[in-house]
Symmetry: C2
Subunit: 313 residues, 2 copies
């Protein structure tokens, strides 16, 4: 049994794996594909495998993606071979939810102004802070991450409305609606927050009409994928002050081009796709992978967080 | 019955009072003390009454302080007359707790760096964010505000240790200790957060030895009163990197002098005593004052949040 990691875990994490599974040959190799042919399992961040790589990995039966985004995987090549794919979607929920709350609270409690006044050495108490308490959030994609954001928002006294495909009740949502009913609820939302993955249904989901339906004081936050809304539509909404501001962790084009207007707009926060960053990342991925691997080695039990390559999540 | 407000509530708030109490004469007068002599009740932010004013207010029986801090009141003059004093300590808890969490999350999720990189139009994903989850907070003063901070921290998976005079269990604290045992617990704390009022016991409570006992990675936050620790001691701790950083909303001298070193230190956040700011402030003060006044008018029932002028809180 050979397992290929296409990234290099820390020394103690490598040891943890080797101690748990003495019978397995682990290879931890970054940007070197010479071990593909003999790998039974591949553990990857999901951005480095091409269709050719999948063809070369002729023995592989399970690809574990140590990340939530699987859109860069060669879906067809994997689906044709019937390779099992799993991801670690659960492990993003804490850092991402903390990032979402950090950005939201920072804006409500005037931190950008406080920081700026400090740079200017200016003691100014004319700061109009407001509160999360008593406001309403519309959460597009109340899955693992969205529900964790909902849980935290509820702790701050925020009314949470989840929005998903089915409209089926989601955890930590006071209300849940389906995509078809977004327009009805947008006028109530103080924050519109997306953690939607990129799928055929979510691409360009938000149009002009949606931003026109939002409150002029609304904060739009995109922590899902950049293709949820076109730059053109969002720039118009921000320039015409149809909404108050946007906090963007994802973009149509990443890295965001140097001359992009978002960089210098006073009502845009540019976060360079870092909201899931955490020192605990690989540790948590192994906490999922190790028990899954134990079961797999017994009878190829299907791993946690199985991904349906046809649906794309 | 005459009631003197030494600040001016909004029009609709004045109307709310006048409608609720048609039998009362309300005076809303800022910086003009001509109405003191006839006032039965004074409602003040607590910073504008001298011992002479109290002597002039010869009829006054109740001073309602629409703020938490009462240290600027002429304590002796009030105590001698046996005037009832109440404050609105409960109404600060939401905005202050939101501010505390905003600052903490901002630092953990690297918002100052994200904002700075945006100013430099620099897409840099080399950002080392960490998490609140799994950390430990020591909260000096787990009263109304401190417990609300504890509640929010617990929602983020933070272990909370309250620290008060008695060591008596406080809400939303996983553990509570008394002031005498601070030193034992300081080495465990990732954040040391004070919302203590200024009293004889809390003035200069934190000494060199306390900062030396903290983690080098600790974040110290003072949202209580500036006399908790001297500038000299705190500056030393920050310059010698005995702690990672300080977020200060209160200072020994306010406004913070223009040439004070805090302004330009990379490991200090200067917040100009604004953490309790909220658009809902006076509204909430009236929510406390109106029911209290109703009862007072019947039989001088003691108001909510009675302040003991001898103890100072």
């Amino acid at each position: 049994m050979e397992i290929l990691f296409t990234f290099i875990p820390k020394e103690d994490q490598q040891q943890r794996l080797e101690t748990e599974f003495p019978q397995v040959h682990f290879h931890f190799i970054y940007k070197d594909k010479t071990r593909l042919a003999s790998a039974d399992i591949i553990v990857t961040y999901g951005e480095d495998l091409t269709a050719e790589d999948v063809a070369a990995a002729e023995k592989v039966q399970w690809i574990m993606v140590a990340s939530a985004g699987i859109e860069k995987l060669p879906h067809q090549a994997i689906a044709e071979r019937g390779i099992t794919v799993s991801n670690v979607k659960g492990i993003h929920k804490i850092p991402m939810a903390e990032s979402a709350l950090a950005h939201l609270l920072s804006l409500k409690r005037s931190l950008p102004t406080i920081y700026e006044n400090q740079r200017n050495q200016e003691w100014s108490r004319r700061i109009r802070s407001s509160e999360l308490n008593g406001s309403t959030a519309l959460i597009l994609g109340p899955g693992a991450i969205g529900s964790e954001i909902g849980r935290m928002l509820q702790a701050f006294g925020v009314y949470t409305i989840g929005c998903n495909r089915s409209g089926k009740k989601a955890p930590h949502m006071d209300d849940t609606i389906s995509f078809e009913n977004i327009l009805e609820k947008l006028p109530q939302a103080d924050y519109v927050l997306s953690i939607l993955p990129s799928t055929d249904e979510t691409k360009q989901l938000l149009k002009e009409v949606h931003f026109k339906a939002m409150k002029k004081t609304a904060i739009f936050m995109n922590f899902g994928r950049g293709d949820l809304v076109s730059d053109e539509i969002l720039l118009d909404a921000l320039r015409n002050e149809e909404i108050a501001c946007a906090v963007l962790d994802v973009f149509e084009q990443e890295p965001l081009p140097q001359d992009h207007p978002y960089w210098t707009m006073g009502n845009v926060v540019v976060s360079p796709h870092v909201s899931s960053h955490s020192g605990k990342y690989v540790e948590r991925a192994l906490d999922i992978f190790i028990p899954d691997l134990k079961k797999w080695l017994v009878d190829q039990t299907v791993p946690t967080n199985l991904v349906n390559m046809e649906k794309g999540y």
